[in-house]
Amino acid sequence: MAEVRVTGRFVAGLSFIAAELAIIEVLVRTGWIRRALLPPPSDIARTLWEIVSSGEFLPPLASTLGLLAIGYTLSVMLGVALGLVMGVSRTCSDIFEPLLEAIRPIPKVALVPVLILFFGIDTTMKVASVVLASFFPVLLNTIQGVRGVEPTLIATGQTFGHRRLGIAIRVMLPASVPYILAGMKVSLGIGLLTTILAEMLSGTGGLGSLVLESQRSFKVRQMYSWLVILGGLGLLLNWAFAKAERRFVPWLDKYQKS
């Protein structure tokens, strides 16, 4: 029954999108919407197919994904490590918190020009932007997770002779995984956003710069095609994240219920 219901909802949602596209198609072809702003969806689909079938999309996609992968991995590692230290040690959190709180409210993308000043427009700058932006959700969630670990679990670690470091790594870190994952999920979205923006601002390589470039050179169909590819990438990343979560953290649901 549930399966049928899910499929039904899926079909309903897809039909609505198809209807929208059909209406836009009509509106463009009848001249209600200017082609220069929005070409007919069928034209975009044709261009998209050309880009995909020729393999033209692969190099920029690889470039964007690679950048995101490096930046995201770094920010997760940094965020979890610093979050664990700050969650465990009051002293460390007293030292780092004011600085972090000062940086946190600045919209990170506003700092990209600063990073361009320091690192130029190359990979270093882009990676730095991604790290700067996507590091905070992981950090804050890790701190929250570590501070909220069930005291009984910590006492269990103590009674079996583990010291502070052992408890931090063997008890607090795994117990915080649900929080860390929630932070990582937010970070993934922010990371993709920042990657695209950094690519646009630097104008060198990747999907971001292609979107901007095709808009500037009035290749509107290309622009929309790249946007569709970007949308697909976002979907794919979220799907992969959920899949990995279930695969590697099978205890997640149960844990949150108790």
Binding site: A155, T159, G166, V177, Y255
Partner: protein, 315 residues
């Protein structure tokens, strides 16, 4: 002294044997107490234990615990508690909820420091949880690691040792077998029933090979039948390991009388160990027959009388 106490003291004056309650060291200045002789240790294991248990393993010396919060008078959780636990014995601490039993046990395990007083292990004061003492929590669902399988939960107890990984896992499995859960090693704790989860927790505690196992109401969260099974399992484990000392905190008087060699009574009003009763019901004990014996019933009667009177605020 109340009429009730005179009643139970009088009732037992004719009991023969070593009718002396171990209270001397406690120095709590309480009224004279008498042992309630419920039977004689008539089995070999019991006698071996009785003979070998003169060495004090854990000693609580004038342990006080009070909590202070700003602007309020300090709340006393424990008031000058003294208790000696002998090597190899099974002691129960009974008392009502909110009587400070758990606090006492956590202090004994080195998990929380006393406000004043000392805990001695082999005569040496402890400062923090000693590796020889393992604390078993009442809430098994909160003390088992949900991200570890059952075997890995048990293995946690051995990860501080220098054993190789393989050896750790082998031992974990053998302790699982001890609690008859060898077929559930790859399950997660939350896939098991409450009683099974507590067995995992017991296996993990045993795997650390502690000298003393401190159990905080270990069977209070499972159903009545499972409780009987787990009690019998515990006795079984205790009988098979002569050096194992168990201190069990419970509000269940039946459980205390069924399991323990000695029973310390902690009441809500005094926040002290009031009396320690020797329980010489014969071992091995039987889950049904022991509970029907006259000695069982009379000791149960005595303890319940004290607890009910005390918790009513009269003394």
């Amino acid at each position: 002294m109340s009429a009730e106490q005179r009643w139970w003291l009088g009732r037992n004056t004719d009991a023969s044997g070593a009718n002396v309650v171990r209270l001397g060291e406690s120095g709590v200045g309480m009224q004279a107490s008498r042992l309630v002789a419920a039977g004689k240790p008539n089995d070999a294991a019991g006698q071996r234990r009785a003979a070998g248990r003169r060495a004090v393993l854990l000693s609580l010396r004038d342990v006080n615990k009070y909590y202070t919060s700003a602007g309020e008078a300090p709340t006393t959780a424990l008031d000058t508690v003294c208790l000696d636990v002998y090597q190899g014995e099974l002691v129960a601490i009974v008392g009502p909820s909110g009587g400070g039993k758990s606090t006492l046990l956590q202090i004994a395990a080195g998990l929380i420091p006393p406000s004043c007083g000392q805990v001695l292990l082999d005569g040496r004061p402890i400062s923090g949880p000693p590796p020889e003492v393992v604390y078993l929590f009442q809430q098994y669902s909160k003390s088992l690691f949900p991200w570890r399988t059952v075997t890995h939960n048990v293995a946690f107890a051995l990860e501080q040792s220098n054993l190789r990984r393989r050896e750790v896992m082998d031992r974990a499995r053998s302790y699982l077998k001890r609690v008859a859960l060898e077929d559930f090693g790859n399950h997660y704790p939350w896939q098991l029933s409450g009683g099974m989860q507590q067995r995992v927790a017991i296996a993990r505690a045993l795997a650390a090979e502690p000298r003393a196992l401190l159990m905080d109401e270990p069977f209070s969260a499972v159903d009545a039948l499972t409780r009987l099974e787990l009690q019998t399992l515990l006795l079984d484990i205790w009988h098979s390991n002569e050096d194992l000392t168990i201190v069990l905190v419970t509000h269940d008087v039946d459980e205390a009388v069924y399991l323990a060699d000695r029973i310390a009574v902690l009441t809500r009003n005094s926040r002290q160990v009031l009396q320690v009763f020797e329980n010489s019901l014969p071992r091995p004990r039987h889950p049904i027959e022991t509970r029907e014996s006259q000695s069982f019933l009379s000791l149960r009667h005595t303890l319940l009388s004290i607890l009910l009177r005390r918790s009513n605020g009269r003394s």
